[in-house]
């Protein structure tokens, strides 16, 4: 199937200061996003995630490389008609009420009055803001702005949804609800391009990820392929024993209430540790095999020279 988004060798730099000094933000970004997938775009702060989005949406102009949205250049209005976007810092028109705000964007997409009213009501309900439809955005909290931002991103029923740090500023319930909305969008056949540095959320919902470090994509692939199922170490929470006895088997950290956290890196020695705990009269509170997480992979990539 043709990619909905294709980026090849994208480069972007900014010049700033009285005597302009060029700073390279994107050095070489290439990636493809397939229809219907949730694509996670990961990177530490300043890696160039937002700049990539700005290039895709015509907010800034790339220095080089090519971008194709639905097989068209990114500035083509036909491509933009199929796109929704939630920016990172949700600053919107404070003079408008939530309902007026959605109506305004609906008008920009050429929707009729009845359709605008129906979509506004449905989207406000979806993001849990139907009670504040007539409140001006000036009075909205950060989390509420994030929600109304998502609603405006969905107003044109887009095929491709760009979300820049969508979970920032939300409480745990809000994050759960937003994750559900993203998954629902996928079920409806939409493609989601999600920029974030909150790895836990990415890991929970993304099909594929790209890791961006210092303006370069250093890893791309399916999450299952990138994160190995191999056990990295086993974590045992033990009480009633001396730390010196435990240190022989691995890394031992003192915890609360006389408990110790033992990390056993050699899996073959785990039965041996369990025997020892039993023989010496110790108590085992938990045993947790740790596989590689996205965080491990991410930190490994970021820390690489």
């Amino acid at each position: 199937m043709d990619a909905v988004l294709k980026i090849e060798h994208l480069r972007k730099s900014y010049s700033s200061g009285f005597i302009p000094k060029k700073k390279e933000i994107l050095r070489d970004v290439s990636l493809e996003v397939a229809p219907g997938e949730i694509f996670g775009y990961l990177g530490p702060n300043g890696a160039g995630k937002t700049t990539t989005l700005k290039c895709l949406l015509g907010i800034v102009f790339p220095d080089g490389g090519t971008i194709s949205l639905f097989g068209q250049p990114p500035l083509a209005l036909k491509a933009k008609e199929r796109v929704g976007f939630l920016p990172e810092s949700p600053y919107f028109y404070e003079h408008l009420t939530a309902a007026e705000f959605l109506d305004f964007f609906g008008r920009l997409f050429g929707l009729g009055r009845a359709e605008r009213a129906e979509r506004s009501a449905r989207l406000l309900s979806l993001v849990g803001l139907e009670q504040v439809a007539k409140v001006r955005l000036r009075k909205f909290s950060r989390g509420m702005l994030q929600r109304i931002g998502l609603a405006q991103a969905l107003v044109n029923s887009p095929d491709l949804l760009f979300l820049d740090e969508p979970l920032g500023g939300l409480d745990p319930i809000g994050r759960k609800e937003l994750r559900d909305i993203i998954l629902q969008a996928k079920q409806e056949g939409r493609t989601v391009f999600l920029c974030s540095h909150i790895l836990q959320d990415i890991e929970m919902i993304c099909d594929r990820v790209a890791i961006l470090v210092a303006g370069r994509v250093v890893k791309t692939g399916r999450l299952d392929d990138l994160i190995s199922e191999k056990i990295l170490f086993t974590e045992l929470e033990v009480a009633g024993l001396d730390s010196l006895e435990l240190e022989r088997y691995g890394q031992c950290l003192a915890g609360r209430g006389g408990r110790f956290l033992l990390k056993v890196y050699d899996q073959d020695r785990v039965p041996e540790v369990l025997d020892m705990i039993r023989e010496r009269g110790g108590r085992l509170h938990s045993l947790l095999p740790r596989t590689q997480t996205l965080e491990d992979l991410f930190l490994g990539m970021v820390k690489q020279p």
């Binding site: 949406l57 015509g58 907010i59 796109v83 976007f85 920016p87 008008r107 997409f109």
Partner: protein, 255 residues
């Protein structure tokens, strides 16, 4: 065109929900009322003094509105990053600018109409008749204000509101004094010096083209050719400034 009108509608809504607008309207009304006090204190035709002060307040407060609101509208979009959301929509950059301009021009039209109606009513209390020439003066003040709005939007597309306000105010002040160069040209001997001054006169705006206050206050005849020339001058100058703004905006990176 539909998208431009949608943006213009939003700009109008933003402008009329801005407190600055009502503050300026209040002071404009107050100045018109105070012109009566000035007329009592001054020597001469009281109605003419009321006319002079009233039309001047229309021009001055309209200009302040164009500068204060015009310079903040585009800058606020960039500074608060609301422009990011807009640029992601199926919208050309020139449509964004024209929408902003038309929205503010429409606001200006309503404000001028409101102030003119108030001024006419105030004048009616003294003369017991309506003066059609006041509407003509107000129309040319409006032409000047839409030019000033375009200038304010131009400056705000690449500088901060304070700088843009200063630049726009300078444009307004220079525009009302540049006609003095014509006197200088007449008095200078022919040569390169006169050519340079003439060049500057053509380069600088001449906002006196829109100033009919003296003629209206003193019931002097206004030639039709002057009205036509001034209207064409205003419309072309506004168009030129808008094209310049679009060119600057077309390749601008919003970081």
């Amino acid at each position: 065109m539909k998208r431009i009108l949608v943006l213009a509608g939003n700009t109008y809504r933003e402008a009329v929900r801005d407190r600055v607008l009502y503050l300026l309207l209040f002071f404009a009304g107050l100045t018109i009322i105070l012109s009566r006090v000035l007329a009592i204190l001054a020597v001469g035709d009281r109605v003419k003094i009321i006319m002079d002060v009233g039309l001047a307040s229309l021009s001055l407060f309209g200009a302040l509105l164009a500068i204060l609101v015009g310079t903040s509208l585009v800058y606020r979009e960039i500074d608060k990053k609301t422009i990011f959301t807009l640029m992601a929509k199926p919208l050309h950059r020139h449509e964004f600018l024209l929408g902003k301009f038309l929205g503010l021009a429409f606001t200006q039209l309503l404000i001028v109409l409101l102030m003119t109606a108030f001024f006419q009513a105030f004048l009616f209390l003294h003369t017991l008749r309506l003066d059609a020439a006041v509407f003509l003066a107000a129309l040319y003040i409006f032409l000047e204000l839409i030019l000033l709005t375009a200038v304010a939007i131009l400056f705000s597309s690449f500088s901060t509101p304070i700088l843009a306000s200063l630049f726009s105010l300078s444009f307004f002040v220079i525009g009302h004094f540049s006609r003095g160069l014509l006197t200088l040209i007449r008095k200078m001997p022919a040569g390169s010096g006169r050519s340079i001054v003439r060049f500057f006169y053509f380069l600088l705006p001449d906002l006196e083209n829109f100033n009919l206050k003296t003629e209206v206050a003193h019931h002097l005849p206004i030639p039709g050719s002057f009205l036509l020339k001034s209207a064409i001058y205003g419309l072309f100058y506004t168009l030129f400034i808008l094209v310049l703004t679009v060119l600057i905006f077309r390749r601008k990176d919003f970081q």
